[in-house]
């Protein structure tokens, strides 16, 4: 009887520990997601010139789509216009938006001159998200402060917004996308995104 009780207690403690370690895994996860993405980015930058745009794009497609929640970002940037889009249009938007996101990384992080990412701290938000504070050190230039806002998606953390020196990428994109949708419509938005991707590949 005593043994049985001990066994139950042991199993219970085991489960508890498992639960705690799981909680820690998620806590650590946010920082790790950002850290992993940043090191993958730096690695691509170091080989940036040899890889060329297409090479960088291919190398970054996995890292970007695994660390960002691109379909959610695409939905947020069009605001309430999302509801007015047909299912096919929504799918199309997520598709071209994902391509544009990877293309802009491939274009903006094309070479390496001693830059380094450092994670400073992380903080939980009231709404169950995590903000990871980091900075990019550039030799002979001011540091760029980054804030990565992450949300839980299927038990893994995904980047949903990046704030660089106080400018929120999500807020900026949302203003642009909703403005274009309202002024010029869906087809024009998709055409403009495709034009950007095309330009990035040529620059």
């Amino acid at each position: 009887m005593v043994f049985k009780n001990i066994k139950i207690i042991a199993v219970f403690i085991g489960l508890l520990l498992l639960g705690i370690s799981n909680a820690f895994a998620i806590e650590d996860g946010a920082k790790q997601v950002v850290d992993k993405f940043q090191s993958e980015l730096i690695a691509v930058m170091k080989n940036g010139k040899q890889l060329g745009f297409t090479g960088r794009y291919d190398k970054l497609y996995g890292p970007v789509s695994n660390s960002h929640d691109l379909s959610k970002i695409a939905r947020i940037v069009v605001g309430k216009e999302w509801e007015k889009l047909s299912e096919a249009q929504q799918k199309k938007l997520v598709d071209v938006f994902s391509k544009l996101s990877v293309a802009s990384y491939a274009h903006n992080f094309k070479d390496y001159s001693g830059e380094a990412f450092t994670i400073d701290s992380e903080e939980e938000t009231a709404r169950g998200g995590v903000v990871v504070y980091a900075h990019l050190s550039i030799p002979n230039d001011k540091d760029v402060k980054f804030e990565y806002h992450l949300k839980d998606k299927d038990k893994s953390w995904r980047i949903i917004n990046i704030v660089a020196n106080g400018v929120s990428d999500l807020a900026l994109k949302r203003s642009e996308y909703t403005s274009i949708l309202q002024r010029e419509g869906f087809d024009s938005l998709i055409a403009k995104i495709n034009e950007k991707i095309d330009n990035y590949s040529k620059l």
Binding site: I76, K80, G128, K145, N165, G166, L172, S175
Partner: protein
């Protein structure tokens, strides 16, 4: 004669009021229909602003950019850096004034040190010695001071040739110019100052050109967010607005909530403006800037009290932190 004159004045006044009234009515009608985004609450004159933006862009591509490119091509890098440092150093007179007006006394001492070190050891500001001594360049101006004093930024404006600003930023930049010693140097040096500013903006303009789907909105958002960030010393984040939407895992079911949020946001912004008598019709944005001048002047009359208040606030927050 006199009475006739005053009679004429009355008629003129009434017709002006009617005219402005009519303009503001049409302004309201179009704004409610056309502009439904959150951002446009801050930009009620988008159509006029876009026209001026297009004009500025044309002037820039045909005049400013070619001259600036030539300047960059002709001038060796070390000289460009020296020129940048020189004008940057002069700007610190304004930074120190605004440090004091915002009751940032420690920072004002550091920035005075920066100005003195660079003006002497730094060969009149050509070399930025202070940076290596651990005195980084701070960014303060009259617009930030007014923000700290609680003056709302008012509507977003695009000025011909001068570019983006707000109803609060426009009069502030006049004060910034007045407090910058570079403004009192002769014409050729003024031109170099302009070239220097344009040449240094090239990097940011390239980002806009390459990355923006709608350059007008991109610059407006970037400008407003950066100014908020600077004025609040990094405490204000545009992302916080978006955070409420991030919480919605299912946008479809919470759509009405989001819509309400949009509505409250714009009402708050409108109320904010109305409080400060900056609720302008779409035609008189420049009149608004003039009114903002008045408000600025009034703010300065109470400057002493403001600085005392801010100093007290900072003391209490510091003592709280110490505890």
């Amino acid at each position: 004669m006199n009475s006739l004159h005053s009679g004429n004045g009355k008629i003129l006044k009434t017709s002006l009021v009617l005219l402005i009234g009519a303009l503001s009515l049409t302004g309201c009608a179009t704004t409610t229909v056309e502009h439904q985004t959150i951002a446009s609450a801050a930009d009620p004159y988008e159509d006029v602003n876009r026209d001026i933006f297009a004009f500025n862009d044309t002037v820039d591509s045909y005049v400013a950019k070619p001259i600036s490119d030539a300047y960059k091509w002709v001038t060796p890098q070390f000289l460009q850096t020296g020129i940048f440092n020189f004008f940057n150093n002069l700007k610190n007179v304004n930074v120190v004034i605004n440090d004091v007006l915002q009751a940032k006394f420690e920072q004002s001492a550091e920035d005075t040190g920066r100005l003195l070190v660079n003006s002497t050891i730094g060969l009149g500001g050509l070399v930025d010695v202070a940076k290596d001594v651990g005195l980084p360049q701070n960014d303060e101006d009259f617009d930030q001071t007014l923000a700290v004093w609680g003056v709302p930024k008012g509507p977003y404006l695009v000025m011909p040739l001068l570019g983006p600003t707000t109803a609060r930023g426009a009069p502030s930049s006049v004060l910034d110019t007045a407090a910058n010693p570079a403004s009192y140097i002769g014409m050729p040096i003024q031109l170099v100052s302009l070239l220097n500013s344009r040449a240094n903006a090239q990097g940011s303009l390239d980002v806009v050109q390459e990355g923006a789907l709608d350059p007008y909105v991109f610059i407006r958002e970037g400008y407003l967010q950066t100014r908020d960030h600077l004025a609040s010393d990094g405490k204000n984040q545009a992302s916080l607005d978006v955070d409420s939407e991030l919480g919605d895992n299912n946008v479809a079911t919470t759509k009405t909530v989001t819509d309400k949020k949009v509505a409250t946001d714009s009402t708050v912004a409108v109320a904010d403006n109305a409080n400060y008598n900056l609720r302008l019709s779409s035609a008189d944005s420049f009149g608004g800037a003039a009114r903002s001048f008045d408000a600025t002047a009034k703010s300065f009359e109470n400057a002493n009290d403001k600085i005392d208040q801010l100093a007290k606030q900072q003391k209490t927050t510091k003592s709280r932190k110490a505890k």
